[in-house]
Symmetry: C2
Amino acid sequence: MSCNKILKQTGHRLTPQRRLILDLIHDAHTHVGAEEIFDYVQARAPGVNKSTIYRTLKLLEQMGCVFKSEHDDRIIYHHAEEGHHHHLICRSCGKSYECEEALFSPVQRAIEEKYGFWVEFRHMVLSGLCSECRGRK
Amino acid sequence: MSCNKILKQTGHRLTPQRRLILDLIHDAHTHVGAEEIFDYVQARAPGVNKSTIYRTLKLLEQMGCVFKSEHDDRIIYHHAEEGHHHHLICRSCGKSYECEEALFSPVQRAIEEKYGFWVEFRHMVLSGLCSECRGRK
DNA sequence: TTTCATGCAAATGATTTGCATAGTC
DNA sequence: GACTATGCAAATCATTTGCATGAAA
């Protein structure tokens, strides 16, 4: 279900500010921080306040429309799409890639077998080296 | 190599404050936050300032003696031991378990094959349900 | 006795909140 | 028109910093 619908169904309103924030998070191919979201929104709707950004992000996170994570001492957000996935961020060039979630099923099972613990792998942000940066090294 | 040695070898001093912080992080079976570390240190050495805690934690992190992570909007620290491992935190009871690092080798290889990306799985903090809480449910 | 580390207090930066007003449903 | 969302400004919270003093090596 789309975020717009979720908002309406939960009695929230679809304001231009919220639309912009959703647009950015949805279209962004990389993860974005509060500051970047603010700049983006500010650019098309001058006057929007930073507290609105934070309030909206918190709301969207609660609705499950958006995921919040932490990487490299930065808080970042990304859209919670149907097909969940993880994020691979290259620590050398900074580029970000998506990683299919299914690849983690074997570990999930292995951990379950060994510890009885059921890990909920959701929207992980993983650090490492992308193919280009590994070759260049 | 022990943290004490690392400190000395890099020209840093082994003060009572640092000793206490190292003790706690080393002995703690759970991860600890700055506030808890402060309380612990404060209890045995009243007068120690919070900025000392933060400065020490940053130093230890830089030396690679300590790992900093984020879980549930909290910044937590844990000791970086020889045999690295991951952390499983139950979102129901809050208990924390250690998870052998080797279990992730298959995913690491799978991701490498599929995307050419080499993930550095280090001291991950994973959320989920422990065996007890799953049974109880 | 030379540095490095600490305590203190003030600064910072990100995020949150109260309240009156404006906008959506 | 009712009720939620916003802008603004002030508050909060964690973390950082400058500086004079104190303690390791």
